[in-house]
Every structure is written in structure tokens, then in C-alpha cells.
């Protein structure tokens, strides 16, 4: 009989609420801090080399970081609904390989090839989502299995060496500049706006938030939980496929391992950006900050000439420090300080 205890925990909350609205939310502080940290790192890197800390270095970071931002958006949605997408690397490869082999260096048929390639990726994500939502397979296992299958299909399809080139239009776009700023940076900006609206200011995003926050309550409130979970995985695969397409345009070709270096950073970006790895909390702007922070760090460490091992150790260290520093308790303290002044 747990009756008494429950009544109690309810009753303990019935203390008259006298707080003013918590205007400074933890999420907002995370976003500010993470962008602040990124900018500080870029400026500080001037000490290493005069070529650093410049606008052109910031451009490079935005350019290289955009790939991570694209796939981290999908990862963020999946994490939001209490999942994890380990198939991202393989789906990036799938997107890249299909782009190179189907476009085959020609602009012909671009208008149907792009939707077809992205559609194939969405199909992969839908399968993962169905496994997770309806067959109750743990997300970790389901997406890993689907990822392995997709990777093996790519391997078989290309017989080990992906051939072909992306459409000249695509590689041209990746090289193009408008007003002396690389075109992909504009794309990044548009993507960030759409992603933020979708995740935080749309009916769809609200429902995903609700499902991740309390799946049982979402079901009782009448949300189609299964469908929502599937759609998160589908969007994630769409984003990964898009990343693969852009990467193929950037590198003017595809490789079988082109997605590998994005899987773990995509998870790290989401978590460093203030989302809860347990789901139900997070915003895309934070994830963008996390992705840019990781990209900045990698760029600086490479420029300093660290060996790969040291690089990875330092990346791991920075992620840990960011996570510890960005916990809710740290904000509770800050908020307290603000209130005293106000």
C-alpha cells in the first residue's frame, strides 16, 4: 500500500507558490554560455597563430560545422523522444554514395534525384522508427542494426569503392560565394531557423517534446505517440542523408567512411547544447552552439599539430567539462545571484 506516501508527496508540493516567474531559464543560459565559449575560443586562438581569430577562421568553422549541425538536428529530435540514432554514420554514407553514383557528374535529372535520394534515407529512418515505436526494440540496438545493414548495402552496391561525382550544380554551390560569404553558410542560417521553428515553435515540435517528456502522459492525452516517434527517426535519416549529399558536394565524391566522424559528435553536440540525453528537453539553438564548439575545438587542435590520440582525449575532456558546468545546479546558483541584484 503506497497510498500514504503518494498523498504525502503531493501534499508536500502544496506550499503556497510565491516565486516570480523563472524568466531566466537554464536552457537560455546554456545557449548564451556555449556561444560565448565558442567565440572566446576563436578569439583566444589568435595567440596561437595570427591567422587565427579572424573572420575567415570563423567562416571556416561555420562552413565545416554546418555538416555537423545538419545531422545533429535529426539526432536532437531522436534524443528528444528518448531515443538515440546510431545509424547516422551509415545514412550519411548512403546519402553521399547515392549522390555520387546516381548523379554521376551531371546536372541531368537533379529535380527528381535529390528527392529520390533523400526519400531512400527517410525510408531507412522510418524502418528504425517502426522498430523502436511498435516492436519496442531498444533504439540503441535498432539503429545500430539498421546502420550495419545500410552500410553493408553501400559496401555491396559500390563493391568497396564508391564511384561517380555529384552534380556540378551541387559541388558548384559548395564553392560559391555570395557577398564574399560562402553559400553553404546561408544554407546553414536558413536550416537553423527552420530547425528552431520546427523543434520549439511548431505543433509537431510540441508533440515531440511531450512524448519525450512523459510518454505515458502523452498517450493518455491522446497523442499518436508511435507515429511521432517514427517521424523523429525519419527526420533524423532525412537530415543525415542531406548531410551526406552536402559532404559529397564538398569533397566532390563519396567514400564509405565519410559518415563515421559525425556519429559521436552529433550526440555530443546535442548533449553539450543543453539537451537532456534522457529526452524531453532541449532546443536546437543549443545544439547548433554545441556543434560549433566541437568544430572550433577540432580545428584549433588540428592547427596546433596535436596527434589524433591527444586530440580525441582533449575533445573528450572538453565535452565532460561542458556537461558538468552546464548542469541545472550551476544555473540555480546563477539565478540566485541575479535575483539578489534585481
Amino acid at each position: 500500500m503506497m497510498q500514504e506516501n503518494e498523498i504525502m508527496s503531493d501534499a508536500t508540493m502544496d506550499i503556497e507558490d510565491k516565486r516570480s516567474s523563472a524568466r531566466i531559464s537554464g536552457e537560455f543560459v546554456t545557449v548564451v554560455m556555449i556561444f560565448g565559449l565558442t567565440i572566446a575560443m576563436i578569439l583566444a586562438s589568435r595567440a596561437i597563430s595570427p591567422a587565427f581569430g579572424s573572420w575567415s577562421q570563423a567562416e571556416t568553422i561555420l562552413y565545416l560545422g554546418s555538416f555537423l549541425v545538419f545531422c545533429a538536428f535529426g539526432q536532437g529530435l531522436v534524443i528528444l523522444v528518448r531515443g538515440l540514432d546510431l545509424s547516422i554514420a551509415s545514412v550519411i554514407t548512403l546519402g553521399g554514395v547515392l549522390t555520387a553514383s546516381l548523379m554521376n557528374g551531371s546536372n541531368e535529372g537533379l529535380f527528381y534525384l535529390v528527392p529520390a535520394i533523400l526519400g531512400a534515407c527517410v525510408l531507412v529512418g522510418t524502418i528504425s522508427g517502426i522498430g523502436v515505436a511498435y516492436f519496442r526494440i531498444p533504439p540503441f540496438i535498432m539503429t545500430m542494426a539498421v546502420g550495419l545493414i545500410v552500410y553493408s548495402l553501400c559496401l555491396g552496391f559500390t563493391q568497396g569503392t564508391p564511384r561517380g561525382y555529384p552534380a556540378p550544380f551541387l559541388s558548384g554551390f559548395m564553392q560559391a560565394k555570395f557577398l564574399s560569404i560562402p553559400a553553404p553558410i546561408y544554407l546553414l542560417l536558413v536550416f537553423v531557423i527552420i530547425g528552431t521553428v520546427l523543434q520549439s515553435y511548431s505543433a509537431f515540435g510540441r508533440k515531440l517534446n511531450a512524448v519525450g517528456n512523459n510518454p505515458l502522459a502523452a498517450y493518455i492525452a491522446g497523442l499518436p505517440s508511435g507515429l511521432l516517434i517514427v517521424s523523429a527517426y525519419a527526420v533524423s535519416a532525412l537530415c543525415a542523408g542531406f548531410t551526406g549529399m552536402m559532404l559529397a558536394g564538398y569533397a566532390n565524391g563519396a567514400t564509405l567512411r565519410m559518415g563515421d566522424s559525425y556519429l559521436l559528435p552529433s550526440i555530443a553536440a546535442v548533449v553539450v547544447g543543453g539537451s537532456s540525453i534522457l529526452g524531453g528537453q532541449g532546443n536546437f539553438v543549443g545544439t547548433v552552439g554545441g556543434a560549433l564548439l566541437l568544430t572550433t575545438l577540432a580545428t584549433i587542435l588540428t592547427a596546433l599539430g596535436f596527434e589524433q590520440g591527444w586530440k580525441t582525449i582533449m575533445e573528450g575532456g572538453v565535452i565532460l567539462i561542458a556537461l558538468i558546468a552546464l548542469r541545472d545546479e550551476s544555473f540555480a546558483f546563477l539565478r540566485e545571484q541575479f535575483r539578489k541584484r534585481g
Binding site: 497510498q3 508536500t12 502544496d14 507558490d17 516567474s21 505543433a203 510540441r206 508533440k207 517534446n209 512523459n214
Partner: protein, 505 residues
């Protein structure tokens, strides 16, 4: 003073800020069978937990055979001769009956495991000692029926009780209590005291000599059962309740439209239940714990699928099957679940988002939503539940329990459903919130809706319901009209009294 086996003085137990037991004093005499009576949540289980060493009291004294008694664990209590048969069974399902009976010392020696046959022989001895002939010592516990498991649980406690045996709702799963009563008599003839917790007054009168009544964590009185009638006991359990703040519900015409019709419903514990909720009615449901009310409410909310039965909403047959379907069925059924935290709120979302969620597609413009739009969309229902609009931007997890409950009720209202199915909607909230919730329910039926609500507080049922159904053992055993509603009447029916009053509803 008579010689007490166990005596408690001013026991109190707090969980956080709330008091489960505030002042319980009672004495159990040698060889006495002593009943503990009280409503749900009166503190009976906490008392059992303290006496059996599961939790420690915050203050107060217990003496066992003249020595201070302060068990820190079940084993310590048992070592001093106090054994408990718990309501939720504490047997290990994948072990044999024999091993369970002998635990925690399934083996006689510390180092060398005893042979299986040795364990079984000793256990078989115990079984025959307690008159259990139809269960063998080598049976695996999970293969047994609930009633058989309950007997093993009790037999284990019987073997360990050398001073005091505590039985927490022992007959809840026992169809035939005679075996238990025989064993209790054997124990008490040896001078062992028995503390007997049961909702069933008939049994209590048969087996117990005295009873202590608990109410709101206090021991009200200890009475000689031969000297007091059932009504007397019920009014001690209920206490005096203030009548002032309630308004008399309006009469509902017999021919009012039936909004929710249920025919021959079978789900979980519920057996062939019929129900008709008319426009303008607030129908209360009274029941002791676990009589099937959860099953009924969850089935109506679409949360669990039912085995058979016909449901009609607004005169049209409806398939429920999922909460989404229940909300969209005809005039609509909106369900507010029992567990606010786990089944209700989205702690990380704002109050406004929590409320608008079922209709979020309509809250926004072109699929885009932000807090301003949501607040406007929710304004109507927020006013109906008297939630202060300043809370709309707060994360629901930061609100008080009462405001969280208002948010959930507002969410139910925003679906536009005519039929509200509310499971204990005012539980654990402050008095002001209770009044707002009552007002919301009355306004809802005044506007042509209907409300079915379960409450663990009898006073709430008596004052709010236009009529009240009493559910016992999965069936409606009484349909008490407004004019006859008293707490005593409900309590008696809820304890399975006056079964002859069984009425088709």
C-alpha cells in the same frame, strides 16, 4: 493496567512535510486479536511498516514485553518475535515454497548448503504444522494462485511470530478465511497477540475482540467490539466533517439525455457493469482500494482495452481502445488519471503547452505555435478551472500539486469532451483548489456535460454527487440517490454490507 505484549505511545511518522501518523497510542494484550480500522490513507499501512521494522518512526515509543522496541529491519523485528504477513506479497517467485518458508536461512549451516531433501523435509513439517495439505514444499511459488501464495506468506509469518503476528489485509486474496481463523485462534491460545488489519467489518467482528480506529494518522479510540455497532465504528472512522462549503447539487430530470452509456462491461476486476451518465449529472464512485475502480476509469478513458462490453457516447456506439479514440468518440470522453506526475503532466513544458497539447494543431497559425498564441487559446479553460494566468509561462514541474491538477483539468476541458472521467481529481490538493475543482465540475454539468468521478474522500462524494455508485469487488453494489447520501451509508456499502441493495444502474 493489563499486561501488554506490545504498547505504543504517541508514535508519529512524517514523510517530508506531511504527517502520516501523528499520534498513535495503542496496546496489544497477550493472546488478543486486535483489529486496526480506518479509511484509506488513515495511516494503517504506516503503522504496520513501523511495527515490522520497514520504516522508523520520527518520534514516539514502542515497548515489547516491557523492553524498548525499535526494530531497524524486518529481520530485527522477527528476531524479537514480531512477524508480519504483508499485503503485497514478499515471496520470491522463482524459488520453491520450501525455500521461501525457510528464508532467510534456507540452509541450516552457514558454509555448507543443506541438501534439497533436507530443506524440503523441514518445510513440509512447517506446512503440515499450519494445516496446509494442498501445497507441496517443492512447488515453485510463481506457479501458485494468488490465494495459495497468500497462505504461504501467512504461514511464514505464523512460524516466526512468537510474540506478535501482524496481518495486513490477509483476506484480500483469500476466498475462504476459515483456515486463517483457525491458525489465529491457535496462536492466541498460546498467548501470542495478533494485530489484524482489514476493511471487512464482518470478519473483524468474527475474529477480533477489540479494535483501534485510526483517522488522519491519529488513534481515535480503542473499543471493545462487542460494545459498539457498525454505525458507531463507521462514524468513528469518518469523523465529523464540515458541511458548510458545499452547495446542493441541482436535480437532474429522469429523461435527460444519456451522454455515456456502458453495457455489460468486463475489464480487469470489473464484471458485467452497466452505467448511464445523463447530461447534468455528477456521478460519484465510492470504493475501497482495489475494487476495480481503476480498471473502470482507465477503460472509459481508453487507456486499457476491455474484454467485452458496449459503450455509447452521445447515443452512438463507440469503440474506445485508445485515449485518442475516447477523446474523439462522439461527444467525447476526457480522462484525468490518478497519478498526476507519471500519467498526467509534462514537467518540462510550460503550463500553457500542457493545457493546449490535445488541440495543439488548432492552437497555432499555420502550424506555428508560441506562448502568446497558446495562452490565448487556453484562456477560456484556464478561467474555468480558476488557474491564475500568471502560471501559464511556468514549467508545470515547478508548480504546486494543486495548480498541476488545475492544468490537467484544463487540458481535459480543452478537448471539448462532454463527458469528464476524473479519478480522484481533488486528491492531495489544498482546500482552495478543491473548491475551484468542485466549481468547475458543477459548471461543466450545468452547461450540459456529465461527470463521473472517483474519490477516496467520502465527504467529497456526499456533497458533490447528484448520485453515487458504490463498487465492491468489480460490481456496482449500490446506487445511492442524492437524498440518501451519507458517509456512513457509502462506507457500509463499500465494505460489502447490505449486498441485498444490489441495483442495476
Amino acid at each position: 493496567m493489563e499486561s501488554h505484549v506490545l504498547h505504543t505511545a504517541a508514535l508519529s511518522k512524517r514523510y517530508g512535510a506531511t504527517v502520516a501518523l501523528s499520534d498513535v497510542s495503542l496496546g496489544l494484550a497477550e493472546g488478543e486479536v486486535h483489529a486496526i480500522l480506518g479509511e484509506n490513507g488513515a495511516g494503517k499501512s504506516t503503522l504496520v511498516k513501523i511495527m515490522s521494522g520497514v520504516v522508523q518512526p520520527n518520534s514516539g515509543e514502542m515497548t515489547l514485553a516491557a523492553d524498548t522496541y525499535r526494530p531497524q529491519s524486518i529481520l530485527q523485528a522477527r528476531a524479537q518475535g514480531v512477524a508480519t504477513a504483508f499485503q503485497e506479497l514478499s515471496l520470491i517467485p522463482n524459488l520453491t515454497v520450501g525455500e521461501n518458508l525457510l528464508l532467510p536461512r534456507a540452509s541450516k549451516t552457514a558454509f555448507w548448503p543443506e541438501s534439497r531433501s533436507g530443506i524440503l523435509r523441514r518445510a513440509a513439517g512447517l506446512l503440515s504444522q499450519w494445516d496446509i495439505s494442498d501445497i507441496t514444499a517443492d512447488a515453485i511459488v510463481e506457479d501458485l494462485s494468488l490465494a495459495e501464495r497468500q497462505r504461504i506468506e501467512i504461514a511464514r509469518a505464523l512460524s516466526h511470530a512468537t510474540r506478535l503476528l501482524i496481518l495486513d489485509e490477509p483476506t484480500a486474496a483469500l476466498p475462504d478465511p476459515e483456515w486463517l481463523f483457525r491458525q489465529i485462534k491457535r496462536l492466541s491460545s498460546r498467548g501470542i497477540a495478533v494485530m489484524y488489519i482489514s476493511h471487512r467489518l464482518g470478519e473483524v467482528r468474527e475474529i477480533c475482540q477489540r479494535a483501534t480506529v485510526l483517522r488522519n494518522g491519529n488513534s481515535i479510540d480503542t473499543v471493545d467490539l462487542s460494545g459498539v455497532d457498525d454505525d458507531g465504528i463507521f462514524s468513528m472512522m469518518v469523523g465529523r466533517s464540515p458541511d458548510s462549503a458545499f452547495v446542493e447539487p441541482a436535480e437532474v430530470p429522469e429523461d435527460a439525455q444519456v451522454i455515456l452509456g456502458v453495457r455489460n462491461l468486463n475489464v480487469g476486476k470489473v464484471r458485467s457493469l452497466d452505467l448511464a451518465l445523463r447530461a447534468g449529472e455528477i456521478v460519484g464512485v465510492a470504493a475501497l482500494e482495489g475494487q476495480g475502480q481503476q480498471d473502470l476509469f482507465q477503460a472509459l478513458g481508453g487507456v486499457i482495452k476491455f474484454e467485452s462490453g458496449e459503450i455509447s457516447v452521445g447515443g452512438k456506439a463507440a469503440e474506445l481502445g485508445s485515449p485518442r479514440r475516447a477523446i474523439n468518440a462522439g461527444a467525447g470522453i476526457a480522462f484525468v488519471p490518478e497519478e498526476r506526475k507519471t500519467e498526467g503532466i509534462f514537467a518540462n513544458l510550460t503550463a500553457a503547452s500542457n493545457i493546449t497539447l490535445p488541440k495543439i494543431d488548432q492552437a497555432g497559425q499555420a502550424g506555428i505555435v508560441y506562448s502568446g498564441l497558446e495562452k490565448n487559446f487556453a484562456a477560456d479553460v484556464v478561467a474555468k478551472v480558476a488557474l491564475s494566468p500568471r502560471y501559464l509561462d511556468f514549467k508545470v514541474g515547478n508548480l504546486s500539486g494543486g495548480n498541476q491538477q488545475k492544468v490537467l483539468l484544463a487540458r481535459a476541458l480543452i478537448t471539448g469532451a462532454k463527458c469528464l472521467v476524473l479519478f480522484d481529481p481533488a486528491r492531495g490538493v489544498d482546500v482552495g483548489t478543491k473548491q475551484s475543482i468542485y466549481a468547475m465540475m458543477r459548471d461543466h454539468v450545468a452547461a450540459g456535460g456529465t461527470v463521473l468521478f472517483y474519490s477516496s474522500e467520502l465527504s467529497e462524494l456526499v456533497h458533490l454527487s447528484t448520485r453515487c455508485l458504490v463498487i465492491y469487488d468489480g460490481q456496482v453494489v449500490a446506487n445511492v440517490p442524492r437524498a440518501q447520501l451519507t458517509e456512513e451509508r457509502l462506507l457500509a456499502a463499500a465494505h460489502g454490507h447490505n449486498q441485498e441493495m444490489k441495483i442495476a444502474v
